[in-house]
Amino acid sequence: MHTPMVETTTGRSSPMTLTGYQRRAAWHLKLLLAPSVLLLGTFVIYPAFYSIYLSLTNEALSGPAALNPRFVGTRNYVRLFSDGGFWNSLLVTFWFVLGSAIIGQFILGLVSAVLLRRPLRFRPLINAIILMPNAVPEVVAGFMWVGMLAGGEHATLNKIVAWFGIPSQNWLVTFPLTMIIIVNTWRGIAFAMILLTSGISSISHELYEAARMDGATPRQIFFRLTLPLLMPTIFLYMLVSTVTTIALFGLVYALTRGGPGGATEIIGIYIFNQSFTAFQLGFGSAVAVVMLAISVVIGIGYVRLLKVQV
């Protein structure tokens, strides 16, 4: 009993009773946090609320509205929900998240995590190779894959599929959505693998030994033991990767800039295009508010899942 029990359960002295050195110390703490509050307040929190206001105006970067923006009420939202481009971007984002984060990255990450538990000789090398795509900047990733997926029979992917008798094509034009899913899967295997590896290794070794004593086969051990025990980690992964994938911009922008014809216009690109290509800041803000709301809902799920104790 080094610090009194009561202290840890009820917290330290109430501000009323602090004296001297302690009151100074409490004041110091607020001072240390002040610059962070200022920075976050100015560049994150105020803009987040400001976007709600902007979404109710016809603010624009050019034209008459740029000089004299007006309050237009919910007109942006009305337009938004009848706008084909908006629904298209939501749908594209949905398939993108489902295909890359929920299915592609997760399955390949899980397979890699499970297989790399074996004491293989080349384990460190394979590990490093799988991690590389996660480390590469988004523009470089986009640039790499523009090359990989280019048209013409000399293009790298076309040469590979030629072995299987598949005709050459310009992949980013013929299968744009599938391709950005493949590229983002490539980029995110590592994150899934790292998270799932830590989840798997936190399962007690004795459980596996007990299961083997009970006569379970490796397949049974995986599906009846590993997978159920991994569920919290899997949920955590799904939430985090969904949030980050919704927020994605640079990778897809560098690959396709949302094209062709909006086929890869995920919501981040849609906001960018509406705001900085079509210069409609008010309308872009309305989309941003919808996106913000979706992310915050998932974020609250994340907080509750982690049972964050702060």
């Binding site: 080094h2 009820t10 001297g20 050195y21």
Partner: protein, 359 residues
């Protein structure tokens, strides 16, 4: 010179009163031990003296001067933390000399002081090591070194031996006592271990629920516990407590009839009325076996033979009794034996638990 005086000291965390008006006086050069069960407030009291917590009410005087508003480092008090709190990124020498370094004492002077302290603590060979490369006992000594280099008038110890193994603890106990004599500083030492308290202290302060249960020399505490709490807290196995009623006979003799059927003759001068409810405290070592038939007889429930002594437990729904007997006694479980209480060894408490020992 450093006499410690706490006058009506109170401390609460939020709505929880941890220290509820404590008066303690510790003389200059005394080795005082605060002892008590978990949550009794002994560590908080120590931190109040250190200045790490502020006092809500009452006063803390050091040599007659109020310390309530004095910063921790200006009180002339050093503290040895339970975790030792040795800075892991500094060597032993840097750890010990840190307070001097902060005061901008010249480097060579610091080195000389550090070496002096290190020699006293047998740390000279270890000065360039980091705490991670030290054993538990060595870390303990570095923590002490860091405290004594400041030449404090008071050194505070917060359960310093609780992280050491048993044999090292015995050794460090002796070493701490030696240091105390050498330094001639007032020591306040917090522990929950009554053996540490009994062996080292000049004065023991027993704390219970944020109040002083008793403050006295160790042997006085053992011989004259002020209440049942102190009586049962000090001594092992713990003091047996029997609830009883007082009976005054017509011939003037007074006896107590315990609820478990035992009858114990009380000393003559005992002032109580017929029918008073009291508690009788009998230390296990003050019971001995006698041949049957005897005034007290009981059935043995548990026998623990330790070789040098034997513990017998007598279970009873109105309170079990433990006897601590010298030597190896070969009685069997279930056997009926006669018992006798050493003369004048009973401690008598009123129904609230306060001592009513006659003069």
């Amino acid at each position: 010179m450093a006499a410690i005086e706490l006058n009506g000291v109170q401390k609460s965390f939020g709505t929880v009163d941890v220290i509820k008006g404590v008066d303690i006086r510790i003389e200059d050069g005394e080795f005082a031990v605060f002892v008590g069960p978990s949550g009794c407030g002994k560590s908080t009291l120590l931190r109040l003296i250190a200045g790490l917590e502020s006092i809500n009410a009452g006063e803390f005087l050091l040599d007659g001067k109020s310390m309530n508003e004095v910063a921790p480092d200006k009180r002339g008090i050093a503290m040895v933390f339970q975790s030792y709190a040795l800075y892991p990124h500094m060597t032993v020498a840097q750890n010990i000399g840190f307070s001097l370094d902060l005061k901008k004492v010249p480097k060579d002077e610091i080195r000389a002081e550090v070496e002096k302290v290190a020699e006293m603590l047998q740390l000279s060979e270890l000065l360039d090591r980091r705490p991670a490369a030290l054993s538990g006992g060595q870390r303990q000594r570095v923590a002490i070194g860091r405290a004594i280099i400041k030449k404090p008038s008071v050194i505070l110890f917060d359960e310093p031996l609780s992280n050491l193994d048993a044999s090292l603890r015995v050794q460090m106990r002796a070493e701490l006592q030696r240091l105390h004599q050498e330094l001639a500083a007032t020591v306040v030492y917090v522990t929950h271990d009554q053996i540490e308290a009994m062996t080292m202290a000049d004065r023991i302060v027993v704390l219970k629920d944020g109040e002083v249960a008793q403050s006295a020399a160790p042997i006085d505490l053992y011989k004259r516990p002020a209440n049942t709490f102190v009586g049962t807290f000090i001594g092992s196995p713990r003091m047996n407590l029997l609830s009883a009623s007082v009976r005054r006979s017509s011939d003037g003799s007074v006896e107590a009839r315990a609820d478990n059927g035992w009858v114990i003759v009380l000393p003559d001068g005992f002032s109580a009325f017929d029918g008073d409810r009291i508690k009788i405290g009998i230390r296990p070592e003050h019971l001995r076996l006698v041949a049957l038939p005897a005034a007290i007889s009981a059935k043995v429930s548990v026998v623990e033979r330790l070789g040098v002594e034997t513990y017998l437990t007598f279970n009873h729904p109105k309170g079990s009794i433990v006897a601590r007997l010298e030597g190896d006694i070969t009685v069997k479980v279930g056997e009926q034996v006669g018992l006798e209480v050493t003369e004048n060894a009973c401690h008598l408490f009123d129904s609230s638990g306060a001592s009513i020992q006659s003069g």
